[in-house]
Amino acid sequence: MSNSTIGSRLSKKKNSVQSHYDRPNTLSSGHRACQGCGEALAARCAIDAAYHATKGNIAIVNATGCLEVFSCVFPENAWNVPWMHSLFGNAPAVATGMAAAMRAQGKNVRIIAQGGDGGTTDIGMGTLSGMFERNDDVLYICYDNQAYMNTGVQRSSATPILARTATTLPNAVYAGNEVGTGKNVPEIAIAHRIPYVATASIANIKDLEEKVAKAINIRGAKYVHIHVPCPLGWGYPTSETIKVARAAVECGMFPLFEAEHGKVVGSTPIENVKPVEEYLRLQRRFAHLFSKNANPQAVEELQKIASANIEKYKLSGGIANV
């Protein structure tokens, strides 16, 4: 049975896990995330979808970061699934051990490792690459809020160029995070030729759920990279998380695609491509790009990235697939 919101107008098959009256609620309410936290929303959707797709046979290891801290401070625990936290940089390796142990015991428990962009693209990169390269039977989910939020919004290698963070403060000399820096981990994952890589956004929950549900039942290493706006770190009203997420997708800054065994196999086209400026203007972390003395070239640099994404992943023109 579906609920009485918009979900009820869709066929049962098309209902999202979230719209269902008995959604698993793997990350229950009452945790300590900020209001409007994109990461909390994405984690609930992703893990609910994985739970749904495996009849609850999942176990999670979480890297240190906001998600870990806000969901689990002794003696409270917001998780309704087996969950552990070890360290900041080792979640993929812990997951390898969990998967090996499940295999050794003949248990069909699907293993998920998850962390923020810092835990994934920076300190966990070595263990992540190792887990990919061995094709371990693990789904890794990166919740990308594009900075070290838990320690107070410092730059990570996933921070967009020109963004303001506590360690890339714009001033008369610097315009935020250095142009020409950064790391694209979905592409690095693809280069490992693992069975499945996908990007997802909390602006498109159904797509996110489908990707996670697909990934969790594939044998071998899987990577899902989710764009999760953070009202505190990005500087926008807590009610606008989905709006900001959608704007990132609609301008091409965050392309939605899937890849299998080293090849991009599909992408989600943008019906009506918007200029990057619309996305940037929603957030205080880019506000300096629109001040009186700002260099107009800066916005252009970001537009170049979005346009390159649109071309690379064939996002324009409303035509699906590559």
Partner: protein, 400 residues
């Protein structure tokens, strides 16, 4: 059954007899042959139901063990020196989470300057990490302590590190008695995990613990270690009952009944010291040896008891803390506080420097031990370098 084996192969086969379900380690001299040995045992089908995982770093190696142990299976890893430092965060994590992982530490110096040879600096760098730490004197003890280690770890719910001197033991061919699979199975029952990640009974493990609880957690970890003194002793006794070898326990006493001077030490060097004092005792000397088997938990009471009759105690150790001095020395001194026993510190064998019988004799015959804190030192080099120090005003008379 008796075998002529390299120490590392003997350890590998002892670990295999304990039926770990995951083995994961990263190459580093002098530990490498142990995991190579286990890899071969898994690949050749001699160790079954075991996942052998090649990883990209020591951080990953111990993290895999953390994951697999949390998911409910007996897990093993091994490392040395730089590798131990590289996994340091996970070392504290494993004990904090009460995971009964067993790890072999093939003891090696720590750089810079890089040095692959034996001393105990690596082990000393994790002495406060909450692991149980056992030191082997011979390859036979290394074998026996690994079998005991799994039992102790699982009983105490605490990881155990078995320290085996790099090269001196890991690469030495010696006769060892390996128990049969049936005997080990009988001694070490299948692992019954105290925690596990079970979808039917979901639990959160490794959560953040705020100030309101943290002190208690730490205090209980300490209490648990102190209780483990009994477990280490008891498992050692059980092992002796079953296998006839007294290779566990807290301390190993040698000729303490008649000794006036006792050398306290850890690991393989005890063998050289015993040979030396045998010679001296034949000529009327009154020497004894006390080896610390269980370095953590620290058996202060057993040490006090063993050294009750000693007039002088010489702590000979293969590590020291720069800026203060001998580490074991400080701990033994603490254990003997309020007694009249004189305690001397001697640091020896750093970075693989040989410790010979002659050196030990020279030390014992030397009138002023405080003159010889570093055994076998090239004093010319030290004095020359000291002269070159700041304005040549170094007063290096006292400690060298």
């Amino acid at each position: 059954m008796l075998f002529q084996l390299e120490g590392s192969q003997a350890v590998a086969r002892a670990v295999a007899l304990c039926r770990p379900k995951t083995v994961c380690a990263y190459p580093i001299t002098p530990q490498t042959h142990i995991v190579e040995g286990l890899g071969e045992l898994v690949r050749s089908g001699k160790l079954t139901d075991c996942e052998y995982i090649n990883v990209e770093s020591e951080m990953a190696a111990l993290s895999v063990a953390i994951g697999s142990e949390t998911a409910g299976v007996r897990s093993y890893t091994a490392t040395s020196s730089q590798g131990l430092l590289y996994m340091m965060e996970a070392v504290y994590n494993a004990s904090g989470m009460e995971l009964p992982i067993v790890m072999t530490l093939g003891n090696r110096a720590i750089g810079a300057p890089i040095n692959i040879w034996n001393d105990h600096t690596d082990a000393m760098s994790v002495r406060d990490a909450g692991w149980i730490m056992l030191f082997a004197e011979t390859n036979q003890e290394a074998v026996d302590l690994h079998i005991q280690a799994f039992k102790i770890a699982e009983k105490v719910k605490c990881p155990v590190m078995v320290c085996v001197d790099g090269f001196i033991l890991t690469h030495a061919y010696e006769r060892v008695d390996l128990p049969t699979q049936e005997e080990v199975d009988d001694f070490l029952p299948p692992y019954d995990p105290h925690i596990s990640l079970d979808p039917k009974n979901p639990k959160a493990i490794g959560t953040m613990v705020p100030p309101g609880y943290f002190m208690e957690v730490r205090c209980l970890a300490h209490k648990k270690q102190i209780d483990a003194l009994n477990v280490v002793e008891c498992v050692g006794n059980k092992f002796k009952e079953k296998f006839g070898r007294d290779s566990g326990g807290l301390v190993r006493e040698y000729n303490l009944e008649k000794a006036e001077t006792v050398i306290v030490t850890m690991g393989s060097v005890a063998g050289t010291i015993k040979d030396t004092i045998d010679e001296l005792n034949q000529k009327g000397g009154k020497y004894g040896v006390l080896s610390i088997v269980s370095y953590r938990p620290f058996p202060a009471e057993a040490i006090r008891k063993a050294l009750k009759k000693a007039k002088k105690v010489i702590v000979l150790e293969k590590a020291f803390a720069v800026g203060i001095g001998g580490i074991l020395f400080q701990e033994i001194s603490l254990a003997l506080k309020n007694t009249k026993t004189e305690v001397k510190s001697v640091v020896a064998g750093l970075g693989g420097r040989a410790i010979t019988s002659d050196m030990i004799k020279e030390y014992l015959n030397h009138k002023n031990h405080d003159d010889m804190v570093f055994l076998g030192l090239n004093k010319e080099v030290i004095e020359r370098e000291c002269r070159l120090l700041d304005k040549g005003s170094c007063d290096c008379k006292s400690s060298f």
